[in-house]
Amino acid sequence: MVLGVNHVRADVALRGELSLDQLPLLSALYTRLKREAGFEGAVVLSTCNRTEIYTTEALAVDRVAALWGETVGVRPAQFVDAAYVHGGDGAVAHLFQVAAGLDAMVLGETEILGQVKAAYAVAQQQHAAGVLHRIFQAAFKAAKRAHAETAISERALSLGYAARELATKIFGDDLPERRVLVVGAGAMAAKAFRHLQDASADVTVVNRTAARAEALVASAGGRVAPWSDLASLVASSDVVVTATRSPTVVIPTKWVRAAAPLRRGVPWLFLDLAVPRNVALGVGRVPGVLRYDLDDLDAVVQKNRVRRAAEVDAVRQILREEAARLAREMDTAAVGPVIRSLREKAEHIRSDELEALWRRLPDLSPTERAAVEQTTHRMLTKLLNDPMTSIREWASVPDGPVYLDALRELFRLDAPSSQPQPD
């Protein structure tokens, strides 16, 4: 079962109030949950876009909501309308969708998978994950398959990331060896700077106010150059990103036209993220130069969004397959202990009876003893063969759990729990 709020159902303020991303709060909630009668396991996922409590249906939803509210100091009545609850297969499907990024604000984002893994790791540290172990492992596997086998997470959906993606599409593995120039130090320039830094590019920042450029570089590395060197820096860079508030063009066509022949056919990328434009329109007409402005990048992002959305059906299919596999594994896991227990009980009876027989007939030769042992073993195997087949079939029938309970009762089997207890 899952109880939660997300960016669709709750506004930022409510999500903030219900957030459990601080370890003390999380720890307090886990402690409260573990004290509950019938507790079998829980995992709390709390990000900026969602807070969700995964547990089993052994705990009542109202009780979980009460414990959550008690932990964060919010009455359940204040968030019950914004919250959603999924049970059984619906909860598993929801977890799979969250892990694969289908339920994320940015469709197909991969960051959420890391957050789900981190949440599960915390639950393990708190010795709280319990019976949810297998379900979360299956969710990680399903999400990995979704990202590997489809293009759901492949294309940039933000302008900053699109700038990096474009630079990568041009220079590929060579990007870390290419010179990147970021002109400006505002918010947009900072986003592009960080994305390009993440791609291991050699980034230089130049800004009219050098102090702002230094502040930007101080947080993530890179170099700062004086504004007066702009023309020579442009000429020696392979990727030029501009995002200043200049009302006039910062990079005129003549600079680019003069330097273009020296590049000997190596592509030259200009990303103009400013409004009004910082790079002259004529730059795009210089041979070998690719000039993208905000509108061009936005068109790429829109196209990417459409292509990601086209992958959703394929991802859902993978998630369905993995959910079905999980269901089969859990069903099989449920009958395994019963089979083992029944076989052990029968074998125990056989060995006890044989011991008694050896005491009554001490003169039996080793050959005769072996013959008796083999005969009783074959009898036992033949006798149990049909019941074992039936029990295995019960793994995939709706009434299987009822039959298993009846079997346990009938033979007085003391089967261990079917679920692993890693914590």
């Binding site: 293009a151 492949e154 294309r155 474009l166 990568t168 599409k169 041009i170 220079f171 590929g172 593995d173 060579d174 990007l175 000997r264 056919g265 190596v266 592509p267 041979p287 070998g288 690719l290 993208y292 061009d296 068109a299 790429v300 196209k303 990417n304 292509r307």
Partner: protein, 271 residues
């Protein structure tokens, strides 16, 4: 039997070409396209074995080179089809390879290839030529991908190649490396061709095909020199494509329709 083998090879190559091109839109189709290449490998192996054993050949060297080329491409497919970005490369290269193969089966037989089997240089010459064709074809395909990818980036309208093709920098590097390998193989093929010609006392450049091959070789040499001096990208890609077209015209055109280098050598041998 031969007709059926060739029909099967042609069908499998055509199917594989369609699969790889379709793979631009649906990458999963690359799997059965690779399966088609596996069939090509089996059929070409049988054909080459039969050609090797035949005492009185009726087929010429272009047919042998064509089958050797597809055999090599197919033999390497389990390796290259797993490399990232090589599916799209096959989408460009396999259809061209198919056309080259079809042409190689149709042109006039200018060397009774099996008659050269007693000469190890004959085999080495043909194998090197097939390797050169494959490598230069892949180099030209990578260059073609570069030009197409660059065109989409310049038009700023992302279509299928924007998403499926490897980065420009990678394509430029692949094209260069494959062309260098191809040029080295071509040099070897020319030298071994010269060794074939030598007993006849003729010079291979005396023929149309031989002179064309020298021109192609010089074009690739010029390409290598320009690359060494830092030349990259658009112009470099066009030269790679143009040089391969010249090679194809020479091998199946001038060399096949007229009396080419190997034909001169062989007729000279016959005395």
């Amino acid at each position: 039997m031969e007709v059926w083998l060739l029909a099967g090879t042609g069908t499998a190559l055509a199917g594989s070409s369609v699969g790889f091109v379709w793979g631009f839109y649906e990458p999963r189709h690359e799997r059965w396209a690779a399966g088609g290449l596996a069939a090509v490998w089996v059929l070409a192996t049988v054909w080459l074995t039969m050609a090797f054993d035949r005492p009185e050949p009726s087929l010429g060297a272009p047919a042998v080179v064509g089958n050797l080329a597809v055999w090599m491409a197919a033999a390497g497919s389990p390796w290259w089809s797993r490399r990232p970005g090589w599916g799209p490369l096959a989408g460009f290269a396999v259809p061209v390879l198919t056309l080259v193969w079809v042409a190689s089966q149709l042109v006039k037989p200018w060397l009774p290839a099996a008659n050269a089997w007693p000469s190890p240089w004959g085999w080495v010459h043909l194998a090197l030529l097939a390797a050169a064709i494959n490598s230069l074809l892949l180099g030209a395909a990578a260059a073609g991908m570069y030009l197409e990818h660059e065109r989409e980036l310049l038009h700023k309208v992302p279509r299928v190649f924007y998403y499926r093709l490897p980065p420009l920098g990678d394509l430029d590097r692949w094209s260069y490396r494959l062309t260098v390998w191809g040029w080295a193989s071509l040099s070897g093929a020319i030298v071994t061709g010269g060794l074939l010609s030598d007993p006849a006392g003729v010079y291979w450049v005396q023929t149309v095909g031989g002179a064309g091959m020298l021109a192609v070789w010089l074009a690739y040499l010029a390409y290598g020199i320009l690359r060494a001096r830092g030349w990259r990208g658009h112009g470099s890609s066009w030269l790679t494509v143009a040089a391969f077209v010249a090679l194809a015209v020479d091998v199946v055109g001038a060399g096949g329709l007229s009396h080419g280098v190997a034909a001169t050598a062989w007729h000279g041998w016959l005395g």
